[in-house]
């Protein structure tokens, strides 16, 4: 008690001594310069990224846009550039999108719920957590090899849509788990406490309060990871998706191709017309991806009506 009083008086005395600024005026100018430089540096990095993107997109649009016609969407691919279209590829991509989502979302979100809400804080859980992080950074071709071994050969699914979608589901699973976990983690403790204090059981707290509150975040992560699956090429080539398909798949057991593979195939041909076709297909793929990203933003806004 006495000590606090002493230090209080000494602070007052210090304040009464002559007023001397602690700001060094000479260094002030230098600091302002650094401040400006750092600002410019940050600005130029974002400009660099944007300019690169714009150049790429403009280049692709210039070379591909003249090939975009109704025929381009309704024709199958062909040896003749004028008759080639992306019907098979776009239908294949849609199938893959739906199937991958159907496999990966329930699995990924449930795994995230288990890890965040139910898993004990033990060594083995920590170990699983670290490895999910590792899997998220694994090169996609490795997933292709896993898919080839397990789905195509061992389970005998052959080069079907089912094998391809399961492979891509494996690929995006770690990303869905991690982003869903982050969304669940971000739900404030006060919300759980409020629910428990009203006599809620654990599952009621998790499914009726925590999950709805985490939904915008979960949806964003899910849509972004599914759009990654739509853009993947390597794992599908490994499991043997075809590059020349003149039919649309009718069931999950059919062979298939997807947009990125069609693009890869056209881009590797020597003729200039096929390169332009590839650019046209890239435009379609980009529009699809942008649409999915906008959907993610829209859903997040919509479900955030009641902000936390």
């Amino acid at each position: 008690m006495a000590n606090t009083n002493d230090s209080l008086t000494s602070v007052i005395e210090l304040g009464n001594t002559e007023h001397e600024s602690v700001v060094n005026q000479k260094r002030m100018a230098k600091r302002k310069l650094y401040d400006k430089l750092f600002y410019r540096l940050c600005q130029s990095t974002i400009l660099l990224a944007l300019v690169t993107l714009v150049i790429l997109v403009v280049h692709i649009i210039i070379s591909g846009v003249s090939w975009l016609s109704l025929d381009f969407f309704t024709n199958f691919t062909s040896r003749f550039a004028e008759q080639a279209g992306i019907k098979a590829a776009i239908m294949g991509s849609m199938w893959v999108l739906v199937l991958t989502a159907a496999f990966a979302i329930p699995l990924g979100v449930s795994a995230a719920i288990f890890l965040e809400e139910y898993a004990p804080k033990k060594k083995w859980v920590e170990w699983i957590q670290i490895n999910i992080g590792n899997l998220a950074g694994m090169p996609s071709i490795v997933y292709g090899l896993v898919g080839l071994t397990v789905f195509v050969r061992y389970l005998n699914f052959e080069r079907s849509l089912l094998a391809g979608s399961l492979t891509l589901a494996l690929l995006v699973l770690p990303i869905i788990i991690i982003s869903s976990q982050e969304a669940i983690k971000a739900v404030p403790l006060s919300l759980r406490e409020a629910a428990y204090a009203l006599g809620a059981k654990k599952w009621q707290v998790v499914f009726l309060q925590v999950l709805p509150a985490a939904l915008p975040g979960i949806l964003t992560g899910v849509i972004l990871s599914i759009s990654r699956a739509i853009g993947e090429t390597a794992p599908l080539i490994v499991i043997g998706a075809l590059s020349f398909v003149a039919f649309t798949p009718a069931s999950i057991w059919d062979e298939f191709t997807v947009l990125p593979i069609q693009i890869y195939n056209w881009a590797s041909k020597p003729q200039e017309e096929f390169h332009q076709l590839a650019a046209a297909a890239i435009i379609v793929l980009l529009v699809l991806l942008f649409a999915m990203n906008f959907l993610a933003i829209y859903l997040r806004q919509k479900y955030q009506r009641y902000k936390l």
Binding site: A194, A197, L198
Partner: protein, 257 residues
């Protein structure tokens, strides 16, 4: 205790040698208290003295803190809350809790009230329940025309009264309040204090507060905590006018804390 207090002397909640630990650190040291039905009990003391920890052990909210361990007994309606036979979920529907920061659900005002009763299987008239609960929480007049708006559109004070209404809707015996006014402006604080005085006719209230004037205004009994020990307890008037322990007097007169 004088004989005149006997008209209201049914004990509803009682702790016996209650100790609470966080890991190796002991936060509450062997606290004994008896709360009478229909009264307001105030827990006061400097920050970190364990009053919130103590409060949260009365409806087993400390169960969710993985390092917390409770030793001792809490009797509610003659049963020890920490015996294996007691279901903490059921218990919390009878001993409600209002938190320091208003924490309405991210739902409409209406659904904030009905959520608790619904998950506990209430099948009666929801509209009536909502109206009754909001009226008892002195919020009905302000929100009756916008029951389906988001609870987050309300002011902080209104949100806190909504949280009280939500707790009342469960028709609990006891309401625990953990510094319910600390995040509110003086006017909202006034509204909540009036509400507490009104509510004690129906419910028993145990309130943690760092505001001694508040304890003096609204409580019947006061419990003074310091470093996890219950230093002194008794009739609020007596504690505030002639406390028997020097430390209590020092705290109440503002010499520390």
């Amino acid at each position: 205790m004088s004989a005149s207090a006997s008209e209201n002397s049914e004990i509803i909640l009682e702790t016996k040698d209650l100790n609470v630990f966080y890991g190796d650190k002991q936060a509450i040291h062997s606290v004994n208290m008896q709360v009478k039905k229909g009264t307001v009990a105030a827990l006061i003391g400097p920050s970190g003295c364990g009053k919130s920890t103590f409060l949260r052990s009365l409806n087993r909210m400390n169960d969710f803190v993985s390092t917390a361990r409770v030793d001792g007994k809490v009797f509610y309606q003659g049963k020890n809350l920490y015996s294996k036979k007691v279901d903490p979920v059921e218990l919390r529907s009878q001993i409600g809790m209002v938190f320091q920061k208003p924490n309405p659900f991210p739902k409409s005002i209406y659904k904030n009230i009905t959520w608790g009763p619904k998950i506990n299987g209430f099948t009666g008239d929801m509209d009536l329940l909502v109206e009754k609960s909001l009226k008892r929480a002195a919020l009905w007049g302000e929100v009756k025309d916008r029951l389906h708006d988001s609870a987050f559109d309300l002011s902080g004070g209104q949100q806190q009264r909504l949280c009280i209404a939500r707790t009342i809707a469960m028709n609990p015996d006891v309401i625990l309040m953990d510094e319910p006014c600390s995040a509110l402006d003086p006017r909202s604080t006034q509204a909540i204090e009036d509400l507490i005085t009104e509510l004690k006719r129906r419910y028993t209230i145990i309130i943690v507060t760092h505001n001694m004037q508040q304890a003096g205004r609204i409580s019947d009994e006061t419990y003074f905590f310091h470093e996890g020990n219950l230093i002194e307890s008794g009739d609020t008037k007596q504690i505030f006018t002639k406390p028997s322990v020097q430390m209590t007097e020092d705290y109440i007169t503002g010499r520390f804390g």
